[in-house]
């Protein structure tokens, strides 16, 4: 139809395989669902191999192996070998905790292309506090092993109020570890991070200072280290183009086999995401109501509905809209045009109150006990 913008369409390019929700660490900003303890029935090796094959046949080429902690899967090498044989570029996204020299070599011989490890903070006390486990020295040792075994060193640090003042030290640590890539991921408030939002959200001033330091450093290390900076969108006036468009590029499969258009979509009410145990990836991608649900513009409400920017940002993130307004079809309230934009300002205000409070709320750590009580 002439004049009407068409929604992008495509086959999956990225498959994010969340192999397990098990994890030895307890990061309070973890993006896993708060009720993860209820979804422990993990897919078998055969089921994962079938998922990889079917998604590859549709066109997926980047494969993220994450979790939870993917290293707890004993069949990790088998899965990697299968994926590599299919032609995927294989990315292991791990905390690095528990990774030994032998295991790194084993993964390499299975064909693993790269390992991304995350460090919580540039110093031991804070790192170990945030991880809920003593792990700092071990992670640094693992980072060096990754490098000596010929992998690119991809380091991820999630940024929030507990570590944002250490931006300089974070950058120096990345340099000292010989990072080829550094991902500075400002916390996105989903899952456990949403639960801990008041305790984690930095102030605008903190965020601006940290960003200026990171951007200056980015220039300085150009050609040696690539820095990816994930912006905290609560301080933006336009939302991110969520998932590059719903069901256009990304496919996430959760540990229990749930196929998700975005890794948070489990929370959206009535979406009824399909399970790979019941359907092929092709059926899921092309025919499932969940993947078709927002893959067009017709669901939109005002102001998105008549906004020319909808072809750029698709109205923002559905999960964020739901978490902040209770309506998954609402304009992402990060947008300054949203009539509910004040919900973002209130969230910022609540975080500020907690920051200056004489009795700030304690962080809630991501572990099975908390998941069972709070999920």
């Amino acid at each position: 139809m002439a004049g009407l913008p068409s929604y992008p369409s495509g086959s999956p390019r990225w498959l994010l395989a969340e192999l397990t929700y098990r994890c030895p660490l307890q990061c309070p900003y973890c993006s896993n669902p708060v009720d993860y303890a209820q979804h422990q029935d993990e897919l078998s090796t055969e089921a994962w191999c079938r998922v990889f094959s079917e998604a590859r046949a549709l066109g997926a080429v980047q494969l993220g192996l994450s979790g939870g902690e993917p290293l707890v899967r004993k069949d990790l090498s088998t899965l990697i070998a299968h994926a590599r044989e299919l032609g995927y570029y294989t990315n292991l996204i791990t905390s690095g905790y528990g990774l030994t020299e032998e295991r790194i070599a084993e993964l390499k011989s299975s064909g693993l292309d790269h390992i991304q490890i995350s460090i919580q903070a540039p110093e031991k006390t804070l790192n170990d506090k945030l991880a809920g486990t003593e792990s700092f020295e071990e992670k640094k040792a693992v980072a060096r092993l990754i490098k000596t075994q010929g992998y690119p060193m991809v380091l991820c640090v999630v940024i929030h109020r507990e570590n944002i003042h250490l931006m300089n030290e974070i950058l120096e640590m990345a340099t000292a570890l010989g990072a080829d890539y550094l991902e500075l991921a400002n916390t996105q408030y989903y899952g456990w991070a949403h639960l801990n939002r008041d305790q984690l959200m930095p102030t605008r001033a903190q965020f601006e200072t940290a960003e200026a330091i990171a951007q200056a450093y980015k220039e300085k290390v150009k050609g040696q280290m690539k820095i990816y900076y994930v912006v905290p969108d609560y301080y933006e006036d336009r939302p991110k183009p969520c998932m590059n468009g719903w069901g256009t590029t990304f496919l996430t499969v959760a540990p229990d086999g749930l196929a998700l258009p975005c890794h948070e979509a489990r929370i959206l009410p009535g979406l009824d995401c399909p399970n790979v145990r019941d359907f092929s990836i092709k059926e899921i991608w092309e025919e499932s109501p969940a993947f078709k649900h927002f893959r067009h513009f017709d669901w939109m409400e005002e102001p998105c509905k008549s906004c020319p920017e909808k072809i750029k940002d698709f109205g923002g993130c559905r999960c964020q809209a739901y978490l902040l307004t209770g309506n998954m079809k609402a304009t992402d309230p990060v947008c300054s045009k949203s009539p509910l934009h004040h919900t973002v300002e209130e969230a910022i205000h609540l975080a500020e109150q907690d920051r200056v409070s004489s009795a700030p709320k304690p962080l809630i750590f991501r572990n099975s006990g908390n998941s069972k009580t709070l999920g």
């Binding site: 080429v61 980047q62 570029y89 292309d113 991304q116 010929g150 991809v154 080829d180 890539y181 050609g223």
Partner: protein, 90 residues
Amino acid sequence: MIQDTTRFGLSPHYRLQWEESQQRFVMLYPEGMVELNGPAAEILKLCDGTRRFIDMVDTLETAFDTKGLRSDIEELVQAALGHGWITILS
């Protein structure tokens, strides 16, 4: 500076791969990918560490039965260097 004798290789951890479902070459790297057009793919395929820049130009001019590709090729090679997809080997 690109000279006639400069040799290029794909950067470590980069992979150039034909994608059947997309009917094109893609460049893959940690957590990223670039979908390449035909000419870019033809040039990058020749960045295999064995060819000198002048050989790359020759090969492509022969393959496409045309002359005067040098500056286009140089431009793309510069861009690829700038993106970090390829490196100068010697």
